[in-house]
Amino acid sequence: MQDVLFYIFAGLTLGFGFLVVANPFSRNPVTSALFLVLTIVSLAALFVTLHAFFLAAVQILVCAGAVMVVFLFVIMLLALEVEERRQVKKLGLVGGSAVALAFAALVGTAIVRSPTGTGQPPTLEGSTHVLGELLFRQYLLPFEILSVLLLVAMVGVILLSKKDLK
């Protein structure tokens, strides 16, 4: 059952991911952003099949919720309805696809050729309780640094969005 769910959601993730990058039906950035939301939601489902329940919830709340709302807000603010079709450089198209394909082939062969694990079924559960314990004991300092980073980002964004940027 779990294997079937993995294949379903892996297929959905990759399919939606492809539609973000190269949608044959629409060149509208809003469509791409909404397909990214679907990609993130099916990734959260993959997290659930890995028993990372807390991260699945965070993924949907933060990535699909907050981050994508900001993205859609900016896309609509800039009124980029349809990405302009311009002369595409053939060399760039071929070269870029070749680079991405070569990267996929490289990582794929590395994964396939590497020895598989011990074979015993995994038992780890990513529940909120254990994760919180780990986060607030062993990783307390990185957590606090992260809060400072968020504050810095917030101040930076306010400064950047001033009208007369010096």
Binding site: S32, V107, G108, G117, L131, G156
Partner: protein, 101 residues
């Protein structure tokens, strides 16, 4: 065949390559940014899979940090894009090729 670590890693690698393809091929600044976000999520999937199959929760804490840093990065990056758009009235990367404003 039961689903193991390598299945998740393959999905993660493919999603990462799709994101890379988007970054290289798309010409719109915001779509490049969307593809970057997808690459970050692909890396997250690999981390969670490693964490589950190695019986170690550190990977999931790492993913938690990655999600937070990605949120901060999106906020700053989008502010930069909006500021750039105000100056140049374009989000097409070939219009943004020079360093001087």
């Amino acid at each position: 065949m039961t689903v193991g670590l390598e299945h998740y890693l393959i999905v993660s690698a493919l999603l990462f390559s799709l994101g890379l393809l988007g970054v290289v091929l798309r010409r719109n600044l915001l779509l490049i940014y969307l593809s970057l976000e997808m690459m970050l999520n692909a890396a997250n999937l690999a981390l969670v899979a490693f964490s589950r199959f190695n019986h170690n929760l550190d990977g999931q804490v790492m993913v938690f940090f990655v999600i937070t840093v990605a949120a901060a990065e999106v906020a700053v990056g989008l502010a930069l894009i909006v500021a750039l758009y105000r100056r140049r009235q374009s989000a097409h990367i070939e219009d943004l090729a020079s360093l001087r404003l």
